[in-house]
Each structure stands twice: as C-alpha cells, then as structure tokens.
C-alpha cells in the first residue's frame, strides 16, 4: 500500500466513523437529541478522531523510525500500512461502542483537540530543541579548536585558508546590531505610520489596495533587494551622501543595506500593526474623540497603547528578519568585518558569515567552517535576550482594554 492509499483508507474510515457515530447517538435516544449530553456531531467527531489519530500517529512514528520513502520495501515499512488500517478500524469500533446518551463526547473531543493544540505548540519547542542541538555539538567542536574568549571578545575577523585565522565575532556582532538598527529605523516609523494611516485615515478602498500592495514588498526575493542595493542605492548613497560629507567612498555600506532592508521590512510592521490597531474597540476612540482630542492624539494616546503588544510583536518580527537576512547584507553592506561608527562604511553581519562559512570552500572540520555553528549559537542566545526584554516591556506597559 502506498502512503496515499493508506491515508485515504484512514481518512475514509474516519469519515465513516463520523457518520456512524452521529447516527448511533441519534438512534440511542430515538431522535430526541436533547437527552444526549453532547450533540450528535460531537459523538461523530469523537469516533472519527479515534479512528484517525492513532493510525496517523503510528504512521508518523513509523516514518521517523524507518525511511518513509514511498515504495520502500523493507519489512517494517510494508507492515506499517496494514497495521495502521487495522488500528483505524479498531478505533472506529471502540468509538462506536463508547457512545451512550450520558457520554461526555464534547468534553472528550475537546480534550483530544486540546492535546492536539499542545502537540502543535510542542513542535515549536521541538524545533528550538533541534536547532540548539544541531548547533551545540558542532559549536563544542569549534571551541575545542579555537579559544572561546578569542571568539567572543576578539575584534578581528580574518578567516584564512589552512589555519591562522582570527575569528573574533565582535565586528560581526557590531555589524549585525548596526545594520538591524538602521533597518528598524527605516521600517518601524514607516511601517507604523503606514499602519496608522491605513486603519485610521484611509478609505476602505485605499486600504484594500495599499495593504496587499505593501505586502508585496515582503514577497520580493531578497536577491532583488540585494541587487537594488548594490546597483542603485549603494552608488546613490556614496555619491550624494558619503562623498560630499567626506565619510568615505564605499559603494557598499551599512546605510545602504539598512535602508534597503528597512524597505523590505515595512510590511512586517505595517500589516500586522494595522490588524491589531483595527481590533482596538471603536468605543475607545469615541471616548477620546468625545473629549475633543484630534484623531492623531486619539491614536497616540489611546489606540497605540492599547495595541502595544501586537505592535511590539510586529517590530520584533521585523527585527528578527533583519537579524536573519543574508542577501541584502552581502550585496548591500559588503563583506568587511569591522567595527566602525561610520554608517557609510562596509560592514557585515553574523548571519552573512554563518552562510558564508557554512557554504564555503573550507574543510568541514576546520574552525573556519565550525565557527558558523558557534556564531549561530551566539546569535540564538543574543536574540533570546532581546525577546525576554520585549516580553518584559509588553507585560509592563500592556493596556488591556475592557
């Protein structure tokens, strides 16, 4: 049996279970459904869930244990599908048998769904765990090859072929923070103002067009932004800002990358904030307007504070993307690892170097490659701190309405 047929069989049985369960529940009380503790649909659902979930679980577990490649011919895989089908049948039977007027099917269904919800949350946890694990081991090998304090506090980043590299991450960290900061400096005000305009001032028509249009900015592949930074924005900034100000003549610069990345991040701030601002009850706006405040005062004093958690979430999402972005930095900011306050100089970020070192031409067990994992881990810890801070801010300043 191919996985597809197995799946169809299981889902078919579940569908059948729903119908049978429902029918049986109704039949048990001779059509007077008020005598049932739970509505017939819940009885049906429970049977369906009992028929579908255990075999699906089995399939997933079996798939994790052995390759799930279709047509795989080894014994366990071949047994898996029939076993699952049998399990589905058994679940169907058990489900049907349990139906009785007093049976709390709704509670049972809800408990199952609750468990599924928890399971879904666990996927996020498992991902984190997976990421930490996949970073930790290789990082450990790195720190066996390279002193940790030089990595953490070194101010020079010069990887070399065949050893002798200096792998201090401070210049990368600085670049990451600097570029992200500039990007947020562009994205947050523009995005927030755009959101405010869309939700509070714009007509429905304008909003219906502007919001998806701005979202296109998030869909443009970053390579396009990168080329845009490299070919258009970089020279522009160099010729019109950096050189006249005497601040250098580098085509690639932190300002270029930050600016272009900021544009990419606008929809992350604007769309999400717009939704949240829109969800603030109208009565709060009325309250402020009724006191004679202007719409902008209403927004600044009442609406934004009430929408703060969502807005912080949006900004955090934008910041996250800024930190994780590669292509724009590669093309826009250059690949110079250095610490400088001049925004018109080329710098680079941790993420760029993770990608670079990982996909580069170094021996895989050399510190030059393994440093990517250490960088990843450092970044992880760093952003964790950032998120804790954000959580704290939200908790502290949250204005829960109603």
């Amino acid at each position: 049996m191919s996985p597809l047929t197995t799946l169809i069989i299981i889902l078919g049985l579940a569908g059948l279970g729903y119908l049978l369960g429902r029918r049986r529940a109704v039949a048990l009380v001779a059509g007077d459904t008020r005598q049932l503790h739970s509505r017939p649909a819940y009885h049906g659902w429970l049977v369906a869930l009992l028929a579908a979930l255990p075999p699906l679980g089995l399939l997933v577990l079996g798939g994790l244990a052995g390759p799930l490649i279709p047509g795989a011919t080894h014994g366990a895989g071949a047994l898996l599908a029939p076993a699952a089908a049998l399990l589905a049948l058994a679940g169907l039977g058990v489900g049907l048998a349990r139906i009785s007027p007093g049976f709390r099917a709704r509670n049972a269904v809800e408990r199952v769904i609750g468990l599924l919800l928890i399971l879904c949350s666990l996927i996020a946890i498992a991902t984190t765990l997976g990421i930490v694990l996949s970073l930790v081991f290789e990082s450990a090998s790195f720190f066996r090859l390279y002193p940790w304090h030089e990595f953490l506090f070194g101010t020079e980043w010069t990887p070399r072929f065949g050893g002798g590299s200096k792998l201090g991450m401070l210049p990368l960290l600085w670049g990451t923070l600097y570029i992200s900061f500039i990007a947020l400096l562009v994205a947050v005000p523009i995005g927030l103002f755009a959101a405010i305009y869309m939700s509070e001032y714009a007509s429905r028509r304008v909003r219906a067009v502007a919001k998806p249009a701005i979202e296109v900015l998030a869909g443009i592949p970053t390579i396009v932004y990168g080329l845009f930074a490299l070919v258009t924005v970089g020279p522009l900034i160099r010729d019109w800002l950096a050189q006249p100000l005497g601040l250098g003549d580098s085509g690639a610069s932190v300002a270029t990358a930050g600016l272009v990345m900021g544009i990419m991040l606008i929809p992350f701030v604007s769309s999400l904030s717009d939704d949240i601002i829109n969800a603030v009850p109208q009565s709060l706006r009325d309250g402020a307007l009724g006191l004679g405040s202007t719409p902008s005062e209403t927004i600044r004093h009442v609406v934004i504070p009430a929408a703060l958690p969502g807005i912080v979430g949006a900004v955090l999402l934008a910041a996250s993307r800024a930190i994780g972005e590669t292509m724009i930095v590669v093309l826009g900011a250059g690949a110079m690892a250095r610490i400088s306050g001049n925004p018109f100089e080329a710098m680079t970020t941790i993420t760029v170097k993770i990608v670079g070192q990982l996909t580069g031409d170094n021996d895989f067990n050399s510190p030059e490659t393994l440093v990517a994992f250490a960088l990843g881990l450092t970044l992880f810890v760093m952003t964790l701190g950032l998120n804790v801070l954000a959580l704290y801010i939200v908790r502290k300043y949250r204005e829960q309405y109603e």
Partner: protein
C-alpha cells in the same frame, strides 16, 4: 438641590439664549432612516432631557450634536445644526474644537485602559487646561469628587479604569467629561448603572453645571427627567414628537403619543 420647585425653574427658562438650533435634522444609517426632520432649540444654562422608547434615536441625535456620528462610516447626517448660530456641519468647522466645547458621556461606559488618574487627566492634558502637575491633581480630584467617585477610588488612582465596577466606570466617564469643562455636556443615560445615592449626586452635579453650561441628558426615567430638566424632548420612532418645558410635557402633553408614553410609566 431638589428643593427648588418646578415653577421656579420654568420661569428662569425663558430668559436663556439658544445654544443649539437644530432644523430638519435627518440621520441615515445606510438605508435606515433613523432620525427624521428633527427640529429643536437647546437653550443655554438649561438642562434638556431627551426621553423616548429604546431605539427611537435619542443617542443618534445626541451624537449629532458633537459630530460623533462622523466616526460611524454608515451614518449620514442632513439638516442644519447651529451652535451659537454657527453651523457645526460647516466644512470649515473643526470637529475637534466643537467636541472640546460639547462634551459627551457615552451610553456604554468606555474608560480608557489607563489608570483612573490618566483617564480623568486626559482631557485637561490635551487641552492644556492644567499647566502644572499640582493643577492637574486638583482638576482630577475635583472632577472625581463631583462625579461622586472620589471616595471609591482615592486610594487606587493608579489602577486601570477598566477594573472598576460598571457604575464606577460610568462615573469615571462623567468625571472625565467634566474635567475639560465643556460649554455643553451631552450625557447619554449617565445614571443607568448607578444606585440611588450616586444618582442623586450626579443629578446634583447636573444642577450645578446648569449655572454655567448647557446640559443635555438622555434618560429613561421620567422621574429623573422631571427632577433635573427644564426642557424635555420626546422622541418616537425617529421623530421628535414633542418638545416643551418639562412641566408642560409631564402635566399637559400635546401629543397623544407623548401622553401614552408618560402615563405608561411604571412606579
């Protein structure tokens, strides 16, 4: 406050200026014609009561008077409404300035999700009415006292306004509205969630405000209308059926609908 007789009041009424002059006011919510040909003169230094069955358009009319209907996308307003002789729907009129002069207490209490203090201080702050912190404190305390809320909340001014009980929220909204000293105060059922004692205090406040301001109050309590107002308007199905001095309305209504509404009252 309640000692003043009805007669005393109606005498004073005649001498007052017209604050709001409304002619032919129409409101549509989309297709629904919610207010039809409403014409009324609201006097200065007078308490005007709007009465009428639920859904007859009282709140709608009230919201017209400070252009709060602007915020409802579906609402369209027609006719003429003059405040001190000036058309408030004139395109040159700034609704913000209008609303600063015409304050409002909404039917559903809508405190800001801020501290109680900030709720009351909000108006004075934006209008720059209290230059110093001490002034602001004074305004807040005074407003809360007048709204009969001070004793309930004086120890918890920093708590959020949404954690108050229903009646406390209502009084908070009243305090918030009077803190900006508007010329006209529109109150949409300000006492609906209040106990008799608090109601009495708010009525006292209204009476006190009448010395200098014009107050419009929507109420479902005939007794309250009779107690606090000098003029009463009776609305029915979107029409202004009758508008006269409170005494006349309650003692000799002209329109049979008014009469049946008033006599249908209970208790």
């Amino acid at each position: 406050m309640n000692q003043m007789t009805q007669a005393e009041r109606s005498v004073q009424t005649e001498t007052r200026d017209v604050k709001f002059e409304c002619r032919d006011v129409q409101v549509w919510y989309g297709e629904k014609h919610a207010l039809k040909d409403v014409g009324v003169d609201i006097l200065d230094k007078t308490v005007t009561a709007f009465i009428g069955p639920s859904g007859c358009g009282k709140s709608t009319f009230l919201r017209c008077l400070n252009r709060m209907n602007d915020t409802i996308a579906a609402a369209r307003v027609g006719g003429q409404m003059l405040l001190d002789g000036e058309d408030i729907y004139d395109p040159r009129v700034d609704p913000v300035q209008l609303r600063a002069r015409v304050g409002m207490v909404f039917q559903k209490p809508n405190p800001f999700p801020k501290s109680i203090y900030d709720n009351v201080a909000y108006g004075p702050r934006i209008h720059g009415l209290a230059p110093t912190r001490a002034d602001l404190d004074a305004v807040v305390e005074k407003s809360l006292r007048r709204a009969a809320l001070w004793d309930d909340v004086k120890d918890r001014l920093g708590e959020t306004g949404t954690s108050l009980s229903g009646g406390q929220q209502q009084r908070l909204c009243i305090a918030r509205a009077i803190a900006t000293s508007p010329e006209v105060l529109l109150m949409d059922e300000p006492c609906s969630a209040l106990d008799p004692i608090a109601t009495a205090q708010i009525e006292e406040l209204i009476d006190e405000l009448r010395d200098r301001y014009s107050v419009v109050i929507v109420t479902h309590s005939m007794q309250q209308a009779a107690r606090v107002s000098q003029k009463t308007a009776f609305f029915h199905l979107g029409h202004l059926v009758e508008y006269a001095s409170t005494d006349d309305i309650f003692t000799s209504p002209k329109d049979p609908r008014t009469e049946s509404y008033i006599t249908g009252r209970i208790g």
